[in-house]
Symmetry: C2
Subunit: 211 residues, 2 copies
Amino acid sequence: MSETVLFDYWRSSASYRVRIALNILGQAYRPVSVDLLAKAQKSPEHLARNPQGLVPVLDIDGHAFTQSLAIIEYLDETRHAGFLPSDPLGRQRVRQLSFAIAMEIHAVCNTGVIAELMRLVPNGEAARDAWMRKFIGDGMAAFEKLLDHPATGAFCHGDNPTMADICLVPQVYNARRWNVDISGLKRLLGISARCEGLEAFAKAHPDRAKG
Amino acid sequence: MSETVLFDYWRSSASYRVRIALNILGQAYRPVSVDLLAKAQKSPEHLARNPQGLVPVLDIDGHAFTQSLAIIEYLDETRHAGFLPSDPLGRQRVRQLSFAIAMEIHAVCNTGVIAELMRLVPNGEAARDAWMRKFIGDGMAAFEKLLDHPATGAFCHGDNPTMADICLVPQVYNARRWNVDISGLKRLLGISARCEGLEAFAKAHPDRAKG
C-alpha cells in the first residue's frame, strides 16, 4: 500500500476542500507544503507533479491526482463517501452548486489571477479588493438563491455534507479573509456554521493546516 | 414527455459544450437565444431560470439544469453517452482535463470577468488582449503537457470523444477568436481537428448556432 501524500498549501481553498474530504473519510495522509508565496508551485519539481503549477496534488492508490473536485469525485467513487448523492438529479444539483463556487468564484479569485490583475492595473490593492467584493459578493448571493430549493436541508443538499458543502466552507473562509460582507446570506452562513462545527471540517481549517 | 429546450448563446463556450453533448446523443432540442451582448442573461426572466445569470440552461426531463459540466455528467448518467470512461482512474483523468480548461481558462476569461477587468483598467482593450494571451496561452500549454500521457489516444482520453474533448474544442475556438498563438501545441490541435471533423461537433459550432 503506497503512502497517501497531499501536496498542499494552508491557505489554498482547493487544498482545504481536499483536506475536508480526506478527514470525512478518516483517510490518514502526510501533508507536504508547497509555498505559494515563494512560488514553489512553479518550481520544476512541482511542475513535474502538475504541469498546471497548482495545488493540491494528491498521491493516493499509487497515482498522483490534481484538480480538487476531480479528486473528490474519485474518492467518492472508490470509497463511497456520500460526497455526491446516489440519484442523477441530486448529483446534478450538488455538482451545479459546487461549480457555482469553484468556477465562478474561486477560479476567478485565485492567486495567479489576482497577481495578473495587480500587474495590469495602476492601483493594485484597491483593484484586488474591488474584484474580491464583486466576484465573491455576487457569487455568494447567487449561491444563497440556489439554496432556496426544496432539496436543501441541514446542509446544501439534504442532511449530510456533500461536495457542495466542501466547496462552501473554504469560500466562506475566503469571504471573511477579504472582508466581503456576506452577513445577509443567512442560509449559506447557517449551513457553513453547521459544517464548521464538524471535526472533519474544523481539522482542515487553514489555521490548523498551517502547522 | 416535456420538450427539451436549450437557453444558450451562439458564442458562449459553455453553451457550445452542451450543444456538442446533445448532438453526440442525437437528442433533439429547441434552442432559445439569450443575447449576452444585450445583457439578457441578467434579465428577471433569465435570473428566474438561473440565479447565476449565466447560460446555458437546459430544460430536459422536466427539470431546468445549469452549469455545463454538471449537465454533461447528468446526460452521461441518464443516457450512458460515454462522456466519461467507466473506470474511476479514467474518470478522474477526464474530469481533471475538463476542469483544467473549464476552471483555469474559461472561467477566468468569461464575459463578466472580462467586463470587470476592462472597467478597472485604464486601457481596457490592451489589458483584455494581454489577459487572453496569458490565461488561454498558459492554460493551453499546460493542457498540452497533460496530454503527454499513456491514456491519450485519438482523442484526449482513448479513442472516443469524452467530456475533455467537449471542453477542448470550444476553447480552441476561443484561442483563435482572441488571436492567441497556440500553433506549437500539436497534440491538442490534432485532437481538436479530429473532433471538428465529426458532425456532432461541427453542427454545434458558433457559426452554425448563430442561425
